[in-house]
């Protein structure tokens, strides 16, 4: 085990104000069980889970309430004991509504309940057992997108994982949840890595941490001091978006993930957030599914910023109340970090497995602007970490020319927000990219559906003959 400086630096990137000092020294605190949980069936990337409970049902903590619905899907478990009040559509942080189970919680009868899943000894368990456990525990990537971890850990035949990259960069401003997890749960991360190496085969491990978190680097060095095999802690320069999967792979092992639909596994890499790794350790050793996560509640409009361990489905209002409420009226509420997070319009939204932060910003921190005409300064080209031409894309989308945007490879855009961040004309470039991507995806889905329908019609014709 050794610590190295990152040998590769990607092109582009920006330096936003990090403001991490607000919550970085706050130890993880457990939220008292809220009276009501809103557990969304759409917790992650991919198909939403299928709800299998109805209003009036009594559920136990850890009970499956949403079943997997397709390959890229994760099951959902109740994160507390309680009674289902209703199952209805609720707005999620990303602005789309999905079925959600409204749970009226009751305090647990037993302070030391039996484990939800039988604990496994990872040293003796088989690969299949471990993989099944990850799936049963409903674990998905806790960094942001929420890709189902069991899918990531099970590479398709012919592809092998050579590098396991642990993402501890946490390059988003304000957020300190991963940082606290690395400090306080370093031993769990260590166990998680061993389990993942058992599942993926004895691959090399790279733990990527940004330079501005020396305490986390020390904690990791201590935890991994005696680990076998090719393990390195890679110190990354402070640069946004260092935490992006693709850039992390480049920064640690120097490989470039091709355009979508290629995945990191195509270049022999698996990237996991440190929180996810700790969750895997808990799922295997303690039999504890992924029911709660650490969320940073920060911003200058919060009384005391905190890192809170809260069951998934906790309403934002409960989180804010636990932090002592609002210091002043927030001008903007962001679910996630300031760069990639989603602005929400009320605190009546609940956390999911991927909610890494909740920011309440006062009017001093929020800049109201209107998008203006591009002045062709090229600042976004320099900032774009994906080597795109955001100026051209944004202008094309503004003129409703999605085709040009597609030819300019808008689908490779990771929506990091670096282009909008520095734009002197205050153009909402990232939003233009998002819009182009949404309409391209919609068109692709329509084409797929049309092709499927045509094929079905042909099959029916053949059968009729």
């Amino acid at each position: 085990m050794k610590t190295v400086k990152s040998p590769f630096k990607f092109k582009g990137g920006v330096h936003p104000d990090y403001n991490k000092e607000l919550a970085r020294d706050m130890p993880i605190e457990r939220l008292p069980l809220p009276g009501e949980l809103v557990i969304s069936m759409s917790q992650h990337l991919g198909a939403p889970a299928k709800c299998i409970v109805k209003a009036g049902d009594e559920v136990k903590r850890g009970q499956v309430i949403g079943e997997k619905n397709g390959f890229i899907s994760v099951l959902v478990r109740a994160s507390a004991d309680g009674k289902v009040k209703a199952v209805e559509k609720r707005l999620g942080p990303a602005g789309s509504s999905a079925d959600a189970v409204i749970l009226e919680t009751v305090p647990p009868e037993d302070n030391n309940p039996a484990p939800i899943l039988p604990p496994l000894d990872w040293k003796t368990a088989t690969r299949e057992e471990l993989l099944k456990r990850v799936e049963e525990a409903g674990i998905c990537g806790m960094g942001g997108a929420g890709f189902p971890t069991s899918v990531k850990l099970n590479p398709p035949p012919g592809k092998r994982c050579e590098y396991l990259v642990l993402n501890g960069a946490e390059c988003e401003p304000y957020l300190t949840a991963d940082f606290r997890v690395m400090l306080e749960r370093a031993d769990r991360i260590r166990v998680g890595v061993e389990i993942m190496r058992k599942i993926l085969g004895m691959c090399a491990v790279r733990i990527a941490i940004e330079d501005n978190k020396p305490e986390a680097i020390t904690a990791m060095e201590k935890a991994f001091a005696d680990i076998e095999g090719n393990v390195e802690i890679v110190r990354l320069p402070v640069l946004y978006p260092q935490g992006s999967e693709k850039h992390q792979i480049y920064a640690t092992v120097g490989r470039i993930v091709p355009e979508p639909p290629a995945l990191p596994i195509d270049v022999g890499c698996v990237v996991e957030n440190v929180g996810t790794v700790a969750a895997i350790a808990d799922a295997v050793e303690k039999g504890e599914p992924l029911l709660e996560r650490v969320t940073t509640v920060s911003g200058d409009a919060v009384a005391t910023p905190k890192n809170i361990l809260a069951p998934s489905g906790t309403k934002y209002s409960d989180l804010v109340a636990f932090c002592g409420g609002e210091k002043e009226h927030p001008a903007k509420i962001i679910s996630g970090g300031t760069m990639m997070g989603f602005a929400v319009s009320s605190l009546d939204i609940a956390t999911t497995k991927t909610t890494s932060g909740l920011l309440l910003l006062s009017s001093r921190k929020v800049f109201q602007y209107g998008s203006q005409a591009c002045i062709n300064c090229g600042r976004c080209l320099r900032a774009c970490p994906m080597n795109l031409n955001p100026a051209e894309i944004s202008k094309a989308v503004e003129a409703d020319d999605i085709k040009t945007a597609e030819n300019a490879h808008v689908m490779t855009c990771i929506e990091c927000g670096a282009c909008s961040f520095g734009c002197p004309a205050y153009r909402t470039i990232t939003q233009f990219c998002r819009r182009a991507k949404a309409s391209i995806r919609a068109r692709m889905a329509a084409e797929r559906a049309a092709a499927a329908a045509a094929k079905a019609a042909e099959d029916a014709k053949k059968e009729a003959k």
Binding site: A373, E392, K395, A396, A399, D401
Partner: protein
């Protein structure tokens, strides 16, 4: 060889059909909205112009000039070129469907195109030999395509711009065409040729 190279440079850059001689302005403005269609149109023009100049050269040298009928060649050329384009359209549809799919919709546009007629006229005025005449027409058509593709590229960018209301659409295209023409003036004196 260098003579043919001079013809090429002269016809493409110095005396560009569209930007210096102002021939073929109609398709230059009409089909320059997209680079794809501009390329298709250029292909069709190269094809028709080369064949048309060969046919008109033969007509001029073997039928009209021997009979002292030089004064009706414009009339005869129009007739022959129009019939020829129609014939190519029909034949291409039958024998070369993929090429017809790519160029077909532009062929009728060329039927009475002044660039095609202009090339034939210039050839018979200069009294050049057959191969020179055909090569000149070919080069002139390449020049036409060159200008068209450059212009369409600019217009694609202009489509994303947000100009004042009075400039929108064809007005801005005309201004751009004028500027492009000015730019091509810079090539004058590059080679000295009768064309």
């Amino acid at each position: 060889m260098s003579y043919y190279l001079m013809i090429l440079v002269g016809a493409v850059l110095v005396n560009n059909f569209v930007l210096s001689r102002f021939l073929g302005c109609c398709p230059f403005l009409g089909v320059s909205k997209k680079t794809e269609t501009a390329l298709g149109m250029s292909g069709a023009v190269v094809f028709v112009m080369t064949i048309a100049s060969a046919v008109t050269w033969m007509l001029d040298h073997w039928l009209l000039t021997p009979n002292n009928l030089g004064y009706i060649h414009t009339l005869a050329f129009i007739l022959v070129i129009a019939a020829l384009v129609q014939f190519i359209d029909i034949a291409m549809k039958r024998f070369l469907p993929p090429l017809h799919a790519a160029l077909g919709i532009f062929l009728p546009l060329i039927t009475t195109n002044c660039a095609v007629l202009g090339a034939a006229e210039i050839n018979c005025k200069q009294g050049t030999g057959f191969f020179e005449a055909v090569f000149f027409s070919f080069a002139a058509a390449i020049g036409f395509g060159f200008a068209l593709v450059i212009f369409s590229g600019i217009r694609e960018k202009l489509a994303h711009a947000n100009p004042p209301r009075c400039f929108r659409g064809i007005a801005l295209a005309l201004v751009t065409g004028g500027l492009l023409s000015l730019a091509f003036m810079g090539f004058s004196g590059l080679v000295k040729l009768p064309y």
